[in-house]
Symmetry: C2
Subunit: 188 residues, 2 copies
Amino acid sequence: MIMNILNYAHYLLEGSIEKGETVIDATCGNGHDTLFLSRVVGSTGQVLAFDIQQEAIDQTRQTLIENNYTNVSLILDSHANVTSHLQTKDIERVGGAIFNLGYLPQSDKQIITSGDSTVEAIENILPVLKSKGLVVLVVYHGHEGGKDEMQTVLKYAMRLPQRAFHVLQYGFINQQNDPPFIIAIQKR
Amino acid sequence: MIMNILNYAHYLLEGSIEKGETVIDATCGNGHDTLFLSRVVGSTGQVLAFDIQQEAIDQTRQTLIENNYTNVSLILDSHANVTSHLQTKDIERVGGAIFNLGYLPQSDKQIITSGDSTVEAIENILPVLKSKGLVVLVVYHGHEGGKDEMQTVLKYAMRLPQRAFHVLQYGFINQQNDPPFIIAIQKR
């Protein structure tokens, strides 16, 4: 059966992340993916969850408390600065990462992820990503500025060398209203 | 993990076709997919396998004989004429279908599937496709005429109403040499 975007993003990560690994939620937003990742890595693993908005960090903290998860570091900073946070925590390898590109639902639509910082973050994650590990991007692009970011990220992803990475695009092409799609980068 | 094109096409069909159903290989080619489908539907099901080239029909027959499969009708005709063959056989519902768009490997590259006949075939199959059933197209487009067919089929697929069908595009975007991609149409 064909999975919807959210289920397929989780399916890819669940199939490639092992218990005990360190993984990254580059855009924790409402905490939905952070909670998912914290379950997948289990109590011996950890999630580094980034967001530039205090509101997102607070929402995610609340979600984690309600579900009794304590294996998450919430980081109020741009995901572009992921390298310094990994170094501070002495982390040399990550098992996977997810990005939700766009704005925080039910929040200020002016505060959006940007193509440049997204690409910078991916560039910083790929060298420490484990072999066969995945960076999954869920690309929302219907908002103002969304098309620019989409083009920047697509252009970057399409140029990743095929000897080093598989880059998959997964999306529904007969839907109205700019539906989100997935770009999944797998290290070979 | 990210599946390659061939594995993903089979994964989708295997997950949606039941034993005992009638399914369609719209382009039997070397018989690889026909054999796969005949295994999936089992001895109580049947495969209608179309090709416009005698060479493809012969290759497929040979493949089936070698593997002891007898649940396949080989039809030397365009898949655009699928309706009359279904009527002759009194078949009112199909469980799924696969198309490989392009030319027969190791054969005459001038003989290719065409966008118009492909669209006609899909239009004839969708009304008899079971609910939740899939039509999977593996789109090879690197050959002469391949881009035209691709555009015709994409345009058609993108216009299928989303209340009636999910249309997924699945493909690798960082590969050289016009790699094939999948269009999967699922009846809702």
